[in-house]
Symmetry: D2
């Protein structure tokens, strides 16, 4: 299958931020090309978007159902291979279900869907169709995050005791959802976003990152959710204490009202022999602290890094890679699985390094558990 | 009272870290001089310490009771003016009480004493004797902490919504208390340290800093305490969620098992119009974030700072001051009160900027509340 | 011309670093697609590279001459629009000349060619053919570099007095050119690299950046060149003092033997009212210092930035962009010129923001002047 | 000699910055006490200053000649031991000469004196009187500077090739000397400052630091001096290329018109096996770069540091020390020499780690050489 994979897109029309990001990320390594899309539920807007994307006009569809039917009917050397779903959360499940059932692989933006129920249904559909579903927990795509995971797995910091993950943003500090900010409008609307506000939008990233790097599952949550803006219907702020399966203790803060903050995801993991510190704002660096030796500043691109880190960067040291490249790394993992499956239908899906339907479902369970914890007077709520 | 104040010391003998720090801090601005001490309960060791401090041998006493008596009997132009108590926590109350009752002012290292009961007793003794008691919550002495407090008070970040305070240290990551580390030995011993481990040693600093800068009181605590080292009798790790009086939401983490961390106290406060970020490892900088404007990097020594910040630094911009100078600023506030009281017995003690007996008592109440919260299954415990 | 531009490549075969970078950068915004190449002078290797790039096998040519002829013969709706030349320096001029004369636009990696003479010839060929030639001085593509330029132009730092530009790398600290490192081998070989070593490879970047941001021309150079590795034939280290046209004073250091450094290009410009500080290792930040006000930390993606900065980033604040995106920005400027020229043959080429043949020629003149200065005992050598 | 050393001061009266700094630094470790001074040439101002310093009124002298005579006449158990000279440069030599000849040790602020001739005379007087003269090149007192020196000496970065030292300040960006700024007034006045402006005030610090850490002597200088402010009589800006005795290549920039900069001294030294990077604005950190391993972040106070670094810090890791403590370290070295000499007149003065009269004379020779180089059209001027 030594050809570019053909990508379709659902959503991503005019005004979309994340649609363009998915196109860049998917095409970055020259392994895929956007060939079609149902970019908007408005036929004209979908066509305009298609033109902007330089997609063949005949393949800028007016609806995802039309797209799935028409693409399915194309000869196999033209038909799209996978579809990226970049709509608001309430419009993830149905297109994903239909695409999988039509034989297409799927990439869904996070959180995977609207509810835990939908998530569980998607797990079943993936199992029954044998198709692949990826979820873009972007931050796990950074090479130095993979290095951190490799270092923990190799025992470099010993037994993990403490995990701090924080994700402060400031863009919802004012009621921008009432000033025509589209990104804010759907994210603060429970009919489109689901039950979680900040906790769904960025809390899921933080929880995924903590589990991904530590290799440990969160088993109990003690959460507080706040809504600071009067009239806002979903949480815009969250803080919680965590327990991990091995007894490690954690804190997670995800807020969108930290005025002046950009997108400041940071993870620190401490074991009994050392600690790791990674911050998305300087993603090519990773600090490795030790009990008795100087802190080491590990940097992307160097020969001393793990295979996982090396395989996920494209440039020599000192040529910064960023968010788009991390995003592309998620796609690269997904593509590898898609290509391997094409040549071997029995390939073990567990060996690929990208967030899949189970990670997506875990994110939905996280939202559900946090909300239940926040509503409870009891300190701890189990996270299954 | 245009003369140097005369300082006595209780504790601070050979092997003490904090005794030497108190001497440097108290003498730094040329306003005081160490003239006597009961540096150790061993007469010989006290004498050796006195010699090392270049104190007159006749004033290196074998016990604090002897010191108080003998100093009290000296003519007023020789007698010490105040005493610094730098012993382990269980040896704070009795010397403080006796010193106050003997007419001396007192500086006590934090936490102020062994128990909340002792703290309340000290409040009463201070009230009845009219003497001054200062507590060295050192970090509130930094000029940029004072700037942060001034900016919050001036409304520069609007209404406070979020407060993060974190204090990771790593030095108790292993059982150094069993390897002859004296500082660790008493801090992990409930008969000398009191009921709090990390929470008493550094959690109280963090809580004080959060309240000092925000000008807001913590009203409820949802805490978890951990002891990671087998056999250790006190907490070596804590995390908690906080509620502040105006509804602001907070997190506080104070841990001594963050392997590889030094003494990384950091405070972030976000309001509805901006945010502040201060970190003890780079104490001369303060970040001021805004909703729509570039983040400002405020630096010690510049003309644009508040009076409080300006009054607490000694050098022009770019000549870093640090921990000892912050410590000296606590003493400077204390000295100002002592001098003013000498000339005006009715001076209003509320106008001085140094942590006093009430701050000390609040720290003890904090320890007490955190422990009760940690023992409770209920999410929130009120902090009176 | 609402279609993707078709890109050809000369060089960039197996083992090439910069070829892949050019493809990613050119395709990043969905405005171009690699359709053909003479990736190697070995036909088999060129074919292999073409396959890796997913180029149609019939368009992976065995030589650039074959490519130019065959592409020229294709119908206009298939023919490539421009060619990227990514070979070592001694193989820039001839392909560029032939491509321009065959009617194709050209992008050349820096330095533009082998000698000042070749550079001057290319200026004439560009003028006579009316084709466009871009040179990838990548670092001028960063949004915060464009912001710095805009701030200087707007007078935000007043009259420029001091310019420091430094470019320390460490990768030539040992004789890697003798250990099979291909990148090092040709760069240290005067028959392939030209007269400049470090000064050509990275000094030209530094000089371009200084002039681009300050808007000022260097008028005199006082340079020292060193070769620290025994037997190496070109400079691996350079330092120089600069005079700018308005009397500003500068220093430029470009070295490849700063052991342990990655690719640490940094520019500082000080005027009589403020200063700017930009560092490639944290490219999304720009410091703006002032005489009496707090330093401002300007960050990519914010609404307060200039139009030039805004137009050159793709993501919201806090989603780091890096080297590949800066590279893509150079291509984006080039593409804009190419598209406009297609619709208006008389368009003014001076209005586009990408390094062109004149910038390329200035870089070659810089190398020439530095070498003459280094060979002279006189302090200053004029830079015309 | 187990007593505090008695300190006198010449200069340091009202309005002085550096006088107060010297007092703090000298007294910081409890090893000395200010007992007398000729703080001003105005008797009343000297008395006022003495009162502010809490010095016995009878020992606040009206002139340094009076002070030297009167102190000399005191019994040896009262008489001052050394004098700190903190006047403008033109008032260093005569008091230093007289103090030495009166049997007192001397500390002089840098640069040591007004001219190279005076410096050479002081060398002779020190030799003939057998007294000790220290010069406060403060920055060499920082523990991480001492660590850097120790690492170079231990061969940790191999053979030194490149030395960059830079010292940008911004405080003379405008003509503050005409607005009553006393520090600026004398520093820009050749009758009080000597022949060097920025080069004398801060360039000497930079040159001393480079030689101190590298252990290498500068042998040739290629300098440019600028005066950016119209009417200013001395240089306010300098840049130069350097040659070191082993063939290493260097750059030194010392400027006081880098608008917005504080006091940003930075030293980088690269050898063939690694590099060191120290910056005064974060003085407790030192970066150690290596060819193939992660950069190490060395921090003050850790057990892995050299003896020299350990001996020059007072606090555990993470308790920042700064400028005053570095200054105190210079005094500590001086005191050690003074005490040892008191007990052993034949002690080898070469074994002490503080800048002495030879370092001071070298600084004066540096100023002289830079000025000669700046006036020359020849590239290089030898530095003997």
């Amino acid at each position: 299958m030594a050809r570019k994979l053909r990508m379709g897109m659902i959503g991503g029309g005019p005004g979309s931020f994340i649609g363009r990001i998915h196109r860049i990320a998917a095409e970055l390594d020259g392994e895929a090309q956007l060939v079609c899309g149902a970019f908007s539920s408005d036929a004209g807007r979908s066509r305009d978007a298609g033109e902007a994307y330089h997609v063949d006009p005949s393949r800028a569809y007016a609806s995802f159902t039309e797209m799935l039917e028409r693409e399915k009917a194309l000869p196999s050397d033209q038909r799209m291979d996978f579809v990226a779903i970049v709509t608001p959360n309430h419009l993830h499940y149905e297109p994903a279900r239909r695409a999988l059932e039509s034989g297409f692989h799927v990439v869904v933006d996070k959180p995977m869907c609207f509810s835990l129920q939908e998530a569980q249904a998607l797990q079943e559909i993936v199992a029954s169709t044998g198709r692949i579903l990826g979820v873009t927990y972007t931050y796990s795509g950074y090479p130095m995050v993979k290095e951190a995971r490799a270092l923990v797995a190799a025992g470099r910091i010993g037994i993990v005791r403490k995990i701090y993950v924080e994700y402060p943003q400031g863009w919802l500090s004012t009621a921008v959802e009432r000033e025509g900010q589209k990104q804010a409008a759907w994210r603060t609307d429970p009919t489109r976003s689901g039950a979680g506000g900040a906790i769904g939008d960025i809390g899921t990233h933080a929880a995924h990152l903590a589990e991904y790097v530590s290799g440990l599952r969160i088993t109990a949550i003690n959460a507080v959710l706040n809504t600071f803006l009067p009239g806002r219907q979903l949480d815009d702020d969250s803080s919680m204490l965590l327990r991990f399966e091995n007894g490690a203790s954690g804190t997670l803060v995800a807020t969108q009202v930290a005025a002046g903050e950009e997108n400041n995801l940071r993870l620190r993991v401490y074991g009994d022999e050392g600690g790791l510190d990674w911050q998305q704002s300087e993603p090519n660096s990773l600090l490795l602290r030790s009990l008795d030796a100087p802190t080491q500043l590990l940097r992307a691109g160097w020969g001393y890094l793990s295979e996982a880190a090396a395989a996920n960067s494209r440039t020599p040291p000192g040529h910064p890679e960023g968010y788009l490249e991390a995003f592309a790394n998620i796609y690269a993992g997904f593509f590898k699985a898609v290509r391997d499956l094409a040549s071997d239908p029995n390939v073990d899906m567990g060996r690929y390094d990208f967030p899949d339907v189970d990670d997506g479902a875990r994110g939905m369970a996280f939202i559900d558990t946090v909300i239940r914890s926040a509503q409870s007077d009891k300190k701890w709520t189990a996270f299954a």
